[in-house]
Structures are given as C-alpha cells and as structure tokens.
Symmetry: D2
Subunit: 343 residues, 4 copies
C-alpha cells in the first residue's frame, strides 16, 4: 500500500492519548463535559494562553465548531465575512447557511483576510435594512492553503474589527502548525488577546477527534452550552475529549507534534526547491503545494498518494503534500529520494 | 467516592475497543467514514439485521443522529410525532425545532406510542394548509422510561404508518437493552423490517461514542452524506466509529454488554420488590424507577449516587437506578444489601 | 348565496379606506414604509396608546407579524410559551418552528394563559443546557375562542414575566374586539404598558390587510426593519398599510367597527340564550360558540353559513358564529328569527 | 416637491384597480386565496401563457415570492446560483440564507446568467458530500440593471438546466417591462415553457402589491400552499390580490402599462444620447443608467429626484432613471428639456 500524504488525519492518535484513555477507563465521571479531565484541559489552556477569564468548550470537529460558534453569535439578519478559500465558504456543505446566515466570500491572494478586504464588503452593504449586516469576521490560521498570519496582521485585523463593531473568530484547526512554523511570530497569548473566539484543533494534530473552543469575549460566553447541545455536539462521554486535550496540552505535546509535522514538510519543500520547483503558495507549515510537470506527478504517485490540487496549464499542475504528527522521518527520506529522481 | 447509578455513560469503553484502537492505530485510512473499519461495521450490521439493502452511517451521538435523520427526511412544512417523554421532545434543547420542524408531544401511559395516539394528532391537523403536515413518527426502544415495544406493537405501528403515509423512525440509543430484555420478542431483523430508519446506540452500551444509523427505506438513503457533513457530524477520523462498531458487532459483544446491564438491573429490581416497593413503570431493561420513602432515599444515597426522578407525594418519590455494561456484580450485591436494610 | 358567519374577513374594507386610497393615489411617496401615511399612522398609535417611545411597524398579516416578532427576539436556544389554542401553536403551519424555535402549548380552560401555566412549563425545563430556555410568552386578546383578559390578569402576567425575565407579546389580531367588549376594563394604554410588544389587527377589523406592530421595550426595537425585510414582509408600497391605519385610527373608526361587530354578536348570543342554548365558552366579543342539536344545526345552515366547531356528543355540537364590522343589522335580525324557530 | 424617478413604486395603483376593488367590496368571499377573483386571475394567466397545467399562487412581494419558491424546492443541502447582481444575492437581507440555503453569486457583464457561468460553479463544487449541491438557477427578467434575455438565451439556459438536473426559476418582478421592450423576442408562452417556476410582478407594474407565482413543473406544485402559509404570505383577504391580477391581466392592461413605462424611459434615453451620454448598461426597459458629470447631476437634481447609482471616476457617475406605468408624458418632456440644457 502506498504511503499517503493526502491529509493529516489518516492515522489514529498519539500513543500517549491511548495510554491515558486506558488508564482512567473505568473511573466514573459526570457526563456532558462536566468530568475532571475536561476541567483540567480547560484550566491548562487558560493558563497557557494567559487568558484566565476565557471559557473553554470541547467539541468533536471543525465544521461543528464553526457552525456552533457562528450561529451562537449572530442574530438572524447578521452575516460573516470569510476569505473565499475559507473552510466555511466552500467546504462545509453550506453548514453556516443552514443555520440561517450568509457567508461573504472574499477573493484574496494568499488565503488571508486584510482590513481592506472586509471594508470592501461593508461598503457594498450599506443599504439598511435591505442587505444583511456584517457582524463577524472568520479567519483560519494556518489558512486552508498553509499560510500564516503575522502578529502585526492579527493586531491590525483585531483593531479594525473593534472599530467597526465586528467580532473576530479564528478557525484554529491547524493552529498548532501555525504557531510552530519557523517564520511565526504569534503566541497563543496573542491569539487569545486579538480574537473574540478561536479554537485549537486536535483532530489534525494527534487526537482521535476534538477541537477546543476558547471564548475570550465575555458577552459571547453566556449560555454557550445550550448551543453545543442543540447542535448535537455535546458528547455524553465528554471525558473522551477532556482526556485527549489534557494529554496534548499538559507537557506541550501539542506543540511538539505540530512542529514535527512542519519540519517534515519543510524537508520535502526544500527537496522540491532543490529540483527547481515553484510553489502555488509560500508556506512554512505542514501543507506544501509544489508545481510539477504531469509526467513528474505520475512518476511520484507510483509509490505515494497525494492530491493533485490545481491544474496550472496543459503540462503542469500543483499537488498538495501534507504531513502530520505521525509522518515518520524514514518515509520522508524515501519520498525525498524519489523527488530528487524527478530532476 | 460513591458509586454512581446515575447513568450508563459514566465509564469509558469496553477494553476490547481500546485494544482494537491500539492495534490499528498507525494504519493509514481514508477519512470521513470511508475507512475499512466503517465498511466492515456496516457489512456486519446489514448481515445481522438481514437487511442487505440498508445503508449504514456512523455518527457521534443520539441528539446528532436524531436531528440529522429528521431534518434529512422532512420538507419544511412537515412535522414529527413523538411521545412527550421522547428524547427529542424535551431533552435536546429544541434541536429538531432548530432545523425548522415542529415536534408533536403526545401524552402516553408508558412512553410508548400507539396508532391511536398518532391518529389523534392527525385528526386535529386536517385543516390544510393552515397546519403542519405530520410525516414522521419517532419512537424510542427501549423508551426513555425503560419500557420496550413488543413485536405485535411494532408491527401495528408499522402498518399504521404505511397506511397513513408516515415514516417510522426508531431511536435505538438503548436498542441493545431493549432486544436483550427477558420479556422481549423483537429481533434486530424485525426492527429493520418495521422501521424506515433506526439507530443502534453505542454510547450507552460500551463505546466511547457512536450511534449507527441504519436507513432501510431506499428513498431516504439518497444523498444522506450531505446532511451528516452539513450538521458537523462527519468525523475526519471516521475510523474511530468504525473500529468501535466493528468490535461491538462482530462477536455479539454488543448484545452481551446490554444483557449484562439488564441482568444487573433485574437483580436490583427484584431486591426492591422484596422490600415491598412499587415502581413508576414496569421495566425489564437497565433502567428501574422504584418508589421509596424520602427517609429511605436519604439512607440509600449515603453510599450510592442516583437521580430522584419524580416526587410522588410529600413522603415518597421515585428514584432512577440505571446500570450499564460496566456495572460489576460486587457493586450490585453491595447495593442490594443496602436496599434490604431499608425494610 | 347564503350569508356567511364563517369569519370576519369575508368582505373587502371599510369604504373610508377605499376613499382615502383613491384620494392620494397618485401622490409620489417613498417606498418601504417611509411614506408620510405610515408615519402619521405611527404617530397616532403612539399618541392613543400614550407610549411616545414605542416603535410602530406595519405588516400584512398575523402569521407574518407573529413570526417576525418572535424570531427577532429569541436567540437560537430560546422558546415561546402559548396556550394550546394559540394561533402560533396550531394554525400557522409551523411558522414559528420554521424560524427555529419551539412553541410550548399549554392546556387552558378558556384560551387565556395564567402565571401558573407558565410556571409549570418553567418547572419541567430546568435541566440546563439539555432543554430549551423559555424567553417569551405569547397571548392573544381577544383569544382564539373569543375570551378577553382583564386588566388585573394582564398586570399579573406582566409582573410575572418581569420577575422571570420573560418577554410578553400580545397577538392583537382582534384587539379592537377585545377592548370594545362590554365586559372589558383594559385600555390601549394598559396594553402598551403591560406588554413588551403587541399588535393591532387591521385585517379582521375593516382593513384590506395589515397589522400594526408596536414595540414598547427599547431593547427589542433595534434593527427590527432588517427582520421585516428578511422575512419578505416589507411592502414596496408601504403606503397601502399606512393609509389604512391612518384612516382606522385617526377618528376612532377602528374602535367603532370593532364595537359594531361585538354588538351584532351579542344580539345573536342573546337570542341563542333565549332558546336555552349553552355555550362552549363565555364570550363578549365577535365570536360565539353556541351548542346545538345536530338537527338544529342542519336547519340553521339552510340559509346561513358557519363552522361546526366541535363535536360535543352524538347529538350535539358547538358551532362558531363570527360577526364583523360589515355585518348588517338586517342580516342579524333575519338570523335571530331563524334561531328562534329552533326552539 | 420634486418629481421622482427613483423607482417604479412611488405611486398607488392604476385607477381601474381601485374601481374594481370598490365594485365588489362588500361581496362575501372565501379567504386565503380561495375567492373567485383569484381563481379568475389564475385562469387568465394560464390561458395567456398557454400553460393549462400550471398552478398560480398570488403573494404580496418579490422577496416573499423568492424565499417561498426557493425554500419550497430545495432540500437542506441544496443551493441556488444567481448573478451577483441578482436581487436574492444582495438586496433581500439574506432572506434565502435565512431559510437555510446558500446563494452562489456569479460575476456577469450584464446581469444575465449564461450556461458557462453556471458550469463554473458546478466545476468547483464536485467534492461530494463536502460541498453544497447546486439545484436551482435564479434569473431575473428584466434584470436588476434593466437588461433582458433573448429567446435563444432562455432556451439555452433551459436546455442546460435540464441536462444538469437543475431547476430554472425566473424572477419576473419586471417581467412586463421585459416582454414589452422593443428589442424583446420572448413571449409569455416561452417563459412558461422554458422555466420551472416564474412570477409576474404586479407591485412594479400598476398594482398596490402582488406577484403571481406560476409553477410549471408538476413535481414542484405539490403542497405549495403550506409554504405560503408557513412564511406568513397567505393573505386572509386573498381577494385583494385576485382582483388586482384579474384587472391587470384580463384586457392586457398589464402589458400596456409596462410598454408605457418602457416608452417613457426610451424617450429619456434618446435625449441623453442626444447630448452624447454613455450608459452603464445597454437597456431597453424602464431603467436607464446614463453616465453624467457630477456638475450635470447636480443641475438635474434641482428639479428631479433619482439615485446616483455608481461612481465612475472623480468627475463622473452613473445615475439611475426609472419610469413607471404612472410616469406622465408631460413630466418626461419637462425632464428631457432639462437634459438638453446640460449639453
């Protein structure tokens, strides 16, 4: 069977998580997220993000986190602004619209939203009350194409949103990869400071499942549990999420796993550069998008699995290579050798 | 710490599940339910229910299963009929209404819907198009108060629904307990035959999480995956659900665990009978509702945790005792001894 | 053709309205409710209800008014309490649920909600966050079965709602009939004082269409126009509603028409009493529900149309007789003569 | 007061409508669209569109028609494709999204959708089930910027939609203006043949309010009344709509009024051309978009009201001039004289 670089959720979970699940398996705990593991996880997250007043809620997946957060915040006539590469705009089967809200998709050059992008949306929606009212800005970090926000960019967005009375929500399905990228200058504390709500993704960074939603703004914290329950996201055995985030966060395992994934990707990126490849986007995280000739793609796919991401012209396409906490060095080396043969 | 009889999801999962998760942990699999474990689980379920044309989908929890199934079936003007003890009517934070549909709650004597109950709803909603149109009947087996349907009752319901052009949907969060109750005469095959859709609950019968939705009627199978995704219920690592249901179903572990829970409950029920107790409902599954004097309740709760379910009068209340796959014989014996002291 | 007592919207509108429509027909006005007639109507309503800070919005019909008001107020996890005779509970094709919210239907003896009815709902929904949160109380005056609230009852409800942090919303589709009933002791000012939102019905009291929503509580006034537009209820020619309410309100035509309807009903009620009839409910407004023998119903329906409302037993049923601003004295006299023949 | 060219709903209605309303004002009729006038109107429309099997429903306004039609057709995971100038995409306060459905906005050069525009949307939504499924195409005729479809274009769209299993829905808020434009080659019969659903706008063509929805495809006709009622659009006095469409349709008044509006616009357009103006779009209907210097705009607005539609550069902007059934020749002449002074 070919090794797959198709995504970062092909394997199970980090062994420490299975160990922890086994160790406390028969302890009786309260249901619905009121177990001590979930409480511990929340405390560690608050501490590490230096945000003692934040509320932490654990849910199963990214689409779920997005739809619960967004529908809990917006009133019926309010809308959310996203890059048009944003996960909520095209890859969630209309999950946000299904809760009643319009998503404005904005063309960007690198998957990142800037204040002027949002201002453009505001400008063409000034005809009150005949148009929806923008109230929320959705960004992903790292983005769906692997790029990351700088501290300055985040701060600018945050200031702009405050000035325009908009909330800022960060989808952190791959926040671990963003914050451990070599070029990154953003801390978890910054994220907590600059956003109203964000989440830390577990599914793509070593957990079996789970995203930790952190609500920083107090007015958005009220009665959040109702929304989790109503959308079918409150696990009876919330312990399953609590134990995992406890393990991931307590000794920085979370950051180590993400850094590992990034490093494996960077080795591969470097090797593609060595053979003279260009890339669809400049990325320092666990997703890379080298542009290859079709014959090279064919060759490479004899032993490895990956997505052909975007046709560039008749002869060339960009592929997506994605690494994870579980990508072993030996596999990467084997892959790099194959790349070098393409020259 | 006191032993808890509060619910059947206080512990983790059956050890065989943890073992299976460990064994295949690093195998690479397709995401989103397209892994081989999910496929295996589906095949076993189809085989055991002798329903080769059914489609099987694995999701995380009961509220999620209910809201996805119901909203996928109904058109905007259609509604669902439930017992007023039904989980969807009062215990899911309006999850069904949040998808746009009315739930009619019907008073019943034992948590079970009968054709005449549904007919009564139809009778007072004949003023087309000024009233919602009933299109779906929701039942739970075992019910939320521990009772079970007989084969004859299910068949009658099924015939009635067909005649009235209604779909029949069974919430099987505790279907294991229903089908292994001593007084039960319904088989899994019967369930597949008499319902349009049902689900097999994992969360309350030994899994970490998971419900297996089985869609028997072909017209309801189409494009179901879109609904799972849109409601945030499609796990990236669907393998987590697949492995669990594979383990539970392949050697009848599922039925053994449920039978164990029932037997523990029956021992306790018998002991309450010995001291002359009455019960709120006559149940043969893992939930029992003995009526005790308040002083007895106080005494019993010194060493054991359970819910006081319903006040009967100034002196007496019904409590709920619930057992599970994990309830050990030794604990049950200790509990029974305490009960006998109440006499 | 038989004369119909089936409802109070069988005819067009009061001639003064047609006259006013003609007079200003070619005046150019701003669209979407920003015309001077709508503004005048709003001013008159505010003045007559001694509620200068209220906001007034004109929409087309009762179901529309109900669904816009309720969905603009509630957050996704919140619900509304209604009598189970309430229009929103059974006669609006699930319009409220279609906006995502549960309606709790409460059994009452006379169509009127009392604090204890609401408290009963609160009592069985205390399991946060597994159950919807009640946030709004919906009442109708006159009710769907013709009864009316006393000032004391309204005041009690209002106090109860404030204490429980619930909003109070009055459906006034027939508020004219309520406030002009002989037994009434409630003023328009009282209604504005005791409710957070109410509406004055035009459709059933002399207009072609139209209900005037009056929002008394300031926090519920914000951005209401967005909701009107989103639900498709903002008429381009809002002048049509403005002109009608201007005509109805400016010289008390509204109250005169309602009083006329009530008086015609009371003559008929008196005649039924003379022949010894009982009634399904004791009403002083334009709806009466006499109980007749089936043979009497058959006889009466030879010359007049009305609804058979409810079967009482094998021999008798209640019928519904409803009068309107357009019911002429001559017709009522003819009907009364027929009634007397039934003795 | 300045004469307004801001829109085509500034006045009341054509005098014949007021006359008809007066004549039958006190006739008793069934409510909710079951009156004889609504039936007559439906019959005339079916006859004139040579579509005897179509169903006709009368509602109050365009946003209402759009949201009812679209939400009645789509299942939860399905979406609608529109030009990004389409009324549903930007000018209805998210009305469609509020019913749960995504609207894809497509950039076009003239407000008209072409098969390739739709194909582009299909192409980037092929990742089943992670993306919404396109099921409906929404077009306006005349478009929001005054352009019209040719017969060939409509036929192509219709064929494309059939091939791709998409429904075609035409917003005809200004269908009268489209079909009576000088350059038009489409008949009402064509519209009925090429679309699955369309509507004939009354509000912008001489009625007080009202749009006639015509459902041509049989499978979309079923139970449509439920949707009208649920969305609050079923008028108790449906006669108000029936009488108006009866008057408009019976002697071709509808087409005469639209043609009048177009002709007035064409006179104005011609005059702008005489002074050398360019236009934002080439239109033959009642909306024209001349581009003027800011000083010219200022001058013109001294005596006439209109919208400045779009800034072109620092010196020039496009304005929108819109005429209606009520625009008198004398006013148009006065306006043209002012235009000529701008030269």
């Amino acid at each position: 069977m070919k090794f797959s670089f198709k995504n970062d959720y092909s394997e199970g979970c980090h062994p420490k998580i299975l160990e922890a699940l086994s160790q406390c398996n028969l302890d009786q705990q309260n249901g619905y997220g009121l177990d001590i593991y979930s409480e511990n996880a929340a405390n560690i997250i608050r501490e590490k993000s230096k945000s003692p007043e934040s509320k932490v809620h654990l849910v199963s997946g990214g689409t779920q986190a997005n739809l619960i957060v967004i529908s809990s915040i917006l009133r019926p006539h309010e809308s959310v602004v996203s890059a048009n590469t944003g996960h909520i705009f095209t890859n969630e089967t209309g999950a946000i619209e299904a809760t009643g809200h319009k998503v404005h998709g904005v063309e960007t050059k690198d998957g990142k939203l800037r204040p002027e992008d949002i201002q453009n949306v505001l400008d063409v929606h000034a005809n009150v009350p005949h148009q929806v009212k923008q109230k929320l800005v959705y960004i992903s970090n790292s983005t769906e194409i692997g790029t990351i926000y700088t501290k300055k960019e985040l701060e600018n967005l945050s200031n702009f949103c405050k000035e325009k009375n908009l909330y800022l929500f960060m989808d952190g399905a791959r926040l671990g990869h963003a914050l451990t990228a070599e070029s990154n200058d953003v801390t978890l504390e910054d994220v907590a400071k600059f956003t109203d709500v964000f989440y830390l993704g577990g599914t793509k960074n070593g957990a079996l499942l789970g995203e930790a939603i952190i609500i920083n703004r107090q007015s958005l914290q009220e009665e959040f549990g109702f929304h989790i329950k109503q959308k079918g996201a409150m696990l009876a055995k919330g312990r399953l999420l609590g134990i995992q985030f406890q393990e991931l966060m307590k000794d920085d395992l979370y950051w180590d796993l993400a850094r590992h994934a990034n490093q494996q990707a960077m080795k591969i990126k470097q090797t593609f550069k060595e053979i003279g490849c260009n890339f669809l986007a400049e990325t320092d995280t666990n997703q890379i998008f080298p542009i290859l000739e079709n014959s090279q793609i064919e060759k490479l796919s004899e032993q490895f699995d990956f997505y052909v991401w975007k046709k560039i012209d008749a002869q060339t396409s960009a592929i997506r290579i994605i690494t994870s906490w579980a990508t072993e060095t030996e596999v990467v080396e084997r892959f790099c050798q194959e790349i070098l043969k393409l020259k």
